[in-house]
Amino acid sequence: MSSFKAFDIAASGMSAQNLRLNLVASNMANVDTISSSIERTYRAREPVFQAVMDGLDPTRPASGVRMLGVIESQAPLRKEYQPDHPMADEQGYIYRPNVNLVEEMANMISASRSYQSNVEVMNAAKRMAVSTIDIGK
């Protein structure tokens, strides 16, 4: 029954936004994770979403959303000269992650708004399904 399909779609949206929120949390938690080499420094991570199509039939709507993968930001890392730092390399540099806190905050709000709209969809689908079940009572 298609009323229950709307539940699955909204649930996939909620799960995708939840994963996005997890990545934001991971980025913000690691904003000060210092490293002594470029390769080992944490880079800001972002999800890439993809619509899940119901077969190849163009007359059917997407049956949800999923996370295609996680990309690491290619923005330059912040290199600082701090020879006294215990993590400094031979030249006296430390590397800070390329996490942009302002971007992460905006991402967090966007993810939570999208999550909310999926919750609303689920509530509305629930009301619709219940009223259909109650027909004839």
Binding site: S3, R20, F49, V121, T132
Partner: protein, 133 residues
Amino acid sequence: MNANSLFGIHEQALRLHDRRSEVLAANLANADTPGYKARDFDFQAVLREAMPGRSLPAVALRVTNPRHIAVAPLPPPLGDLQYRVPEQPSVDGNTVDAQREQAAFAENEIGHQATVRFINGALSTLRRAIRGE
């Protein structure tokens, strides 16, 4: 009197409201998917096609040679999905406008409730007739 004439168009309308909620839920779930195009269908037009006696002809393949393999006529497509015309598409190619989709979803829910009330009304009429009130 059969159930078809009792509920009339409302049975089809209920099915279409369910389907539309699915389409709009998919739009809202993909509000942050790069390249996703928001979709919807023209409820009135599809409902008019779904009216009894107004069914579209079945889709058949054209045969230009008697040796072509015969394919049984396909059922007419019900409710072709169309792409929404974006007002402000984003840079990543996504055309979902969350506010518009939410408004459409709310409208669809109200329509669904109205249809359910019509069906309930028809049923209570029938019940009253059976009881002889």
